[in-house]
Amino acid sequence: MGYRKVAIVGAGMTKFVRRALETPRELSWLAAKAALDSAEMKLDQVDSVVFGSAPDAFDGLHMKGEFVADGCGAWGKPYLRCYVGGGTGVYAIAQGWLHVASGLFDTCLVVCEEKMSTCQPHPQGAFLTIFDNFTEQPLKPNLLWIFALEQNRYMQVHGITLEEIARVSVKNKRNALGHPCAQLGAELTVEDVLKSEVMAWPVHRLMVSPTSDGAAAVVLAAEHVARRVTNKPVWIEGVGWCLDTAYWTNRDLYYPRYVERAARMAYEMAGIREPRKEINIAEPYDPFAYKELHHLEGLQLAPKGQAAKLLADGVFDRDGDLPATPSGGLLGVGNPIAAAGTMKICELFWQLRGEAGARQVPGKPRRGVAQAWGDLMQVGTVVVVGV
């Protein structure tokens, strides 16, 4: 399509933990340093920096982007902080892609961080205020409501069962056992998930990702730099993002049309016509178990209402036809919001280079898609990478 070629040449992340000792700035630094080290690059080779993070109320810092800038290596550099709620961690890679693809910069360090444990008594205090201040907040909603409402709608329209949804938790938490950064890897059964406490029916505790602290980062480079610093560049083939209306109660929540739009934008850029055949690995966003299925449908990797069936058939297992969330995802590795999205990009980077160790998807995968979601059931962000 005539875009300047941009590669991921390094990736790094922190452990995802319930409460980290490190400050937001230190977490960002750990990830940035790990990503640079993995590319054997120095900070003075970085032309521009992108930071991604979700609500300031989590880390407890107004203008959080400014505070952490020093940890991202942004001193004396062009620095942008992008923000699309939970979709940020994948969008940030698109934002970095823009920096290099524009021709204004040859390299971009992309860092995403979240420190949710700062938020007391619980991050829900910040989530309350994602709802409309005039018409919804007075009802004292919590974050679970909106997911439960969406999950119920999704189940109702397609006749999907809780057992089918519970399988996502089982798969992802098991996959996470192979991830050295994982907070919640576990060997569970569908029964365990269904027996866990009902938080907001139909959502059970083991269908929900944890709150976490952590950071993840990647280094992007233009082709001439990429070829110099690595013999295994992972190319960014497509980026897409889309924001739906804020009036979420005016939409049918059963299908994420904004994810479809974002995916189609990225696929068109990547020249992908038949996503199910042309994509080898998917890292869909899985903050709640049903979300993975919902998003696989939005990504056109399963027909509407069919993702649960394909999951039951083993298609999305690590050794299946289309492995989904081999990292272990937000359910297993953890969910420091923006960092979790970038973790998915890191996973594709390692998988496509054959460096994922115990998590390695067999068959030399050549192309992967990562996706995140955010705001009020509203944002789709998609990145396609390949070797």
Binding site: H62, F67, G76, P78, G103, I130, G240, L243
Partner: protein, 384 residues
């Protein structure tokens, strides 16, 4: 793909101390309608949107949620930058230069009047471990910086007061300014001390308002209804945020941002090649500090003398902040940079009425994100 970027549409609501008749959505809708009409486009023509907003200035945990509808961005690529509107313009340029889009909208606004305890919000931006426990109004950081700046530059306090007086007077001719005033330097110095050496009238007061830009690639710009104003360069940079390690006398991040913008624009001698400047003056001394960092004057002392002699006022050789600047228009939070750009667009098009600067062909806009940040952006706009 065109290799250049232009502003082809501008819409705004006037800056006002309050705007109680409108919700933020209604304010954004009004400005967007004007911008699209100005550009001769429909909202449906726009391919991508950027809003510049900070959650805690809005009072919502993920403000991005509430941005698309009133801009016509539903189901389109849209995202938020938690930065100044000039960073948003930079983002639009990236999107266009990458070849991804040819028509991008940038929005920024302020509903500062809705913030009940603004200095407490700024306090929440300070380092919680090393600085915030002192329990101080965060504007003190500007007081510390000004003291060091005066010491190193040799600029006199009275010269800073001239900046405030000039910009408030400039605002008298700008119907979109919130704080016009017939003010002299002595009135500024006579205002109560706030964060000494800073006095109250040297600190910009907040205002409400919204600005929307329609930004286009070269091919699209040539087909536009309005006269394109070319973005010849745009640069942005951060300094060290930490109070401990930042440069207290010189905003090196402004210099860095300007270097990037000048390189793109091919500008070597800013004082000769730029005829009109809109720079950040959130605190009066900042205008002088920024004029030095932008290399418009060899040093701040020269900028101060020029200001004292009236050489940076309307009608003089090198007018600075004819709009009234942040002091005269009001501090529009994330919209400050776009207020600076809006003035340049109007001036370059010859639409500035009573404050029109004759013969201006190249203008510079610069923003700073206020205390406690070290974040700035610079854009060079021109008729060619």
């Amino acid at each position: 793909m065109g290799s250049r970027v232009a502003i082809i549409g501008l819409g705004f609501t006037p800056a006002r101390p309050t705007s109680s008749h409108q919700s933020y959505k209604e304010m954004m809708f009004e400005a967007a309608q004007r911008a699209y009409a100005d550009a001769g486009i429909e909202a449906a023509d726009v391919q991508s949107f950027v809003t510049c907003a900070e959650d805690l200035n809005e009072g919502l945990s993920i403000f991005d949620e509430y941005t698309p509808d009133q801009l016509g961005a539903m189901l389109k690529p849209m995202h938020t930058l938690t930065q100044d509107g000039l960073h948003g313009l930079a983002d639009a340029a990236l999107q266009i230069l990458s070849g991804l889009f040819e028509l991008v909208v940038v929005e920024a606004h302020s509903k500062a009047s809705n913030i009940v305890a603004p200095d407490w919000i700024a306090d929440y931006a300070t380092d919680p471990v090393l600085n915030r426990p002192l329990g101080l109004n965060p504007h003190y950081i500007a007081g510390l910086e000004m003291q060091r700046f005066l010491h190193e530059s040799g600029v006199k306090h009275e010269q800073c007061a001239h900046v405030a007086a000039k910009n408030r007077r400039h605002a008298l001719r700008n119907p979109a300014a919130a704080y016009p005033a017939h003010l002299e330097a002595k009135d500024v110095l006579a205002s109560p001390p706030a964060f000494e050496p800073l006095h109250e009238k040297e600190i910009a007061r907040t205002a409400d308002g919204c600005i929307v830009l329609v930004v286009a690639g070269e091919d699209r710009a040539h087909r536009s209804a309005a006269k394109p104003v070319w973005v010849r360069g745009v640069g942005w940079a951060n300094g060290s945020f930490a109070l401990e390690s930042r440069n207290w006398a010189h905003p090196d991040y402004v210099r860095r941002a300007a270097e990037i913008a000048y390189r793109q624009a091919g500008i070597h001698d800013p004082a000769r090649e730029i005829q009109l400047l809109e720079v950040d003056d959130t605190y009066a001394y900042k205008e002088l500090q920024h004029l030095e960092a932008l290399r418009v004057f060899p040093n701040a002392a020269d900028a101060a003398r020029a200001t004292e002699r009236g050489e940076t006022q309307q009608g003089a050789r090198l007018p600075v902040n004819v709009s009234g600047g942040v002091l005269g228009m009001g501090n529009l939070l994330e919209a400050n940079g776009l207020a600076r750009v809006a003035e340049l667009v109007l001036q370059l098009r010859g639409q500035s009425g009573a404050r029109q600067v004759e013969g201006a062909r190249v203008g510079l806009a610069q923003s700073w994100r206020g205390v406690p940040t070290t974040s700035a952006a610079v854009a060079i706009l021109g008729l060619e």
